[in-house]
């Protein structure tokens, strides 16, 4: 290892980096905002995706028996459903059990002692093998005798998935816009440094420095802008993840949010990578354009 070379190179990078501090701060700040929004968006998308996935896996058809149907009718219906290959499981929920479950679910949120009588009919809960068959199974069950009505969370799940889809597209466009903005600001910063150092560059070219040697300090400058910006954003995201998110989750009791992403480390590394790559590409393009003319 030639330490003299390393020292010279780092000196050049440092000289570039400190030449225009305000511009450097602007570039870093833009990257921070970009990564911050990117991280927030990906986190939201991941959480929503997980919620949607959970819901699809949990999707159940609730079959409510008519008032006059006897438990024996329910048992017969259950046996018939179990022979259907599309059905994974069937659970019988007598009206008393149904009420107990409702009370359990609403515990602490609603005063269930207000319910003096049991308004629930006997019910069956069906889980299907494939979520896509929910509609067909539900329709078939609806036509069977002693069945009052059939309910399932199809609408909710579909709406969730649609929301997820729209959010992905809008979010993606937004992210692209942010990345382009950050890239433009970084490349502008690099261009200012290149301009400030045009005498050095001219001399480097004159004495036969290879173009990679001329470019490298500027590429490093862009890399540093991207990386430092991303580090700041990741720190902010970390604060949000551990300070704000738990409060947000506890404020939304009905929404089945699960704690998403215990793998914050991987996520952070990916974001740092994005910042660094944007910085490198932007400075590469910027320096390349200058050196070609």
């Amino acid at each position: 290892m030639d330490w003299g070379k390393v020292q010279f190179f780092l000196g050049e990078v440092w000289r570039n980096f400190t030449r225009n501090v305000i511009m450097q701060v602007t570039a870093i700040g833009t990257v921070t905002v970009m990564i911050l929004l990117l991280g927030t968006f990906l986190f939201a998308q991941q959480t929503l995706g997980r919620v949607g996935g959970d819901q699809i896996a949990k999707i159940e058809i609730s079959v409510f028996m008519t008032e006059k149907a006897s438990p024996a009718d329910a048992q017969r219906l259950m046996a018939r459903l179990k022979s259907d290959p599309r059905v994974k499981s069937v659970t019988y929920i007598p009206k008393a059990e149904g009420l107990r479950q409702v009370r359990e679910r609403l515990k602490g949120q609603l005063d269930t002692s207000l319910l003096t009588s049991n308004p629930l009919p006997d019910a069956l809960r069906i889980r299907v093998v494939d979520p896509n068959q929910v509609h067909a199974v539900a329709a078939a069950v609806g036509k069977m005798p002693n069945v009052a009505n059939v309910e399932y969370q199809r609408d909710f799940v579909e709406r969730l998935l649609r929301l997820y889809d729209v959010m992905s597209k809008v979010g993606f466009a937004f992210i692209v816009l942010l990345v382009v903005t950050a890239a433009i600001i970084i490349s502008n910063t690099i261009r200012l440094t290149v301009y400030a150092r045009r005498r050095e560059i001219a001399i480097m070219q004159l004495v036969g420095a290879s173009s990679i040697y001329i470019r490298l300090p500027f590429i490093c400058e862009g890399f540093l802008d991207g990386l430092i910006g991303a580090v700041l954003a990741v720190l902010l995201l970390g604060i949000g993840r551990w300070q704000l998110w738990p409060k947000f989750v506890s404020s939304l009791p009905f929404f089945p949010l699960r704690d998403a992403g215990s793998d914050f480390g991987t996520f952070a590394l990916q974001l740092l990578g994005v910042g660094a790559i944007v910085g490198i590409v932007a400075s590469w393009v910027s320096v390349g354009r200058y050196l070609r003319t």
């Binding site: 003299g4 010279f8 050095e200 070219q205 004159l206 004495v207 036969g208 420095a209 040697y213 001329i214």
Partner: protein, 249 residues
């Protein structure tokens, strides 16, 4: 070492800088390029270190054909060709030592070579004692000597000088030309474009006179005013020049 065949150079704005230049410059020679401003001296030098491509004809420098040289091969050529300018082009925020070392460092030379070569060339140009001084604290002659050291640190085969004495007083100009002469004696081919009649006449080396982009005269042991003192030589001038030359020669 340097060979030009039917070389023409037309700038994008239509200016014809060089027109049908034929030249051979041998290895180890010392050549002055003279002529009025705008006659193509600098353009010719720029061809030799591939700052410009010829519009027509063939330029060969140390076996490399300039017109066909790939962009990625330019650095290789530039390491064989040192260039010195009228305005020195030193970096003002670096010391003399750093300016000279810079030329090696940016070509990726190992530190070992930097530590060996920089003192050697600073010694050669007589600037070893000023190595820690910044360019603004030096006289013009010293700055030019530092610039020459930088041009030489890569051990180039050719040294091109574009008006090296243009900003210097006669004493410093003579010192710089003496230095160029010493460098030439060590085997480096030296080409000097100049206006300075005094140094040309003192050196009595090959003088190539350019006029309107053409070679007007090429004398093996020439004077600045050479054969003719006017743009259009007449018989009387030619006779006078011949007498002067025979008298001095």
């Amino acid at each position: 070492m340097i060979s030009l065949r039917e070389v023409g150079l037309v700038y994008p704005n239509g200016t014809r800088a060089l027109d049908g230049i034929d030249l051979e410059i041998a290895k180890g020679s010392f050549v002055f390029l003279v002529g009025h401003s705008g006659t193509g001296k600098s353009s010719l030098l720029r061809l030799l270190y591939r700052e410009q491509k010829p519009s027509s004809g063939m330029v060969v420098v140390d076996g490399v054909e300039i017109g066909k040289l790939k962009r990625s091969k330019i650095p290789e050529l530039r390491r064989k060709v040192g260039v010195v300018f009228q305005d020195f082009k030193l970096l003002l925020d670096k010391t003399v030592w750093e300016n000279v070392a810079f030329a090696l460092q940016v070509t990726g030379a190992p530190t070992r070579d930097v530590m060996r070569q920089v003192p050697r060339v600073l010694d050669l140009v007589g600037m070893a004692h000023k190595s820690r001084v910044f360019p603004n604290e030096l006289s013009g002659g010293e700055q030019q000597r530092a610039a020459i050291a930088r041009a030489l640190v890569n051990n180039p085969k050719i040294l091109l000088c574009d008006e090296p004495t243009g900003n210097l007083d006669p004493v410093n100009a003579n010192e710089v030309v003496d230095l160029l002469h010493r460098i030439n004696l060590k085997g480096t081919t030296v080409v000097v474009a100049t206006h300075n009649a005094l140094v040309v006449d003192r050196m009595r080396r090959r003088v190539i006179r350019l006029e309107h982009g053409k070679v007007l005269a090429d004398d093996e042991r020439g004077l600045y005013h050479g054969i003719e003192s006017d743009i259009r030589p007449d018989a009387e001038d030619l006779a006078l020049a011949a007498r002067v030359r025979s008298g001095l020669g």
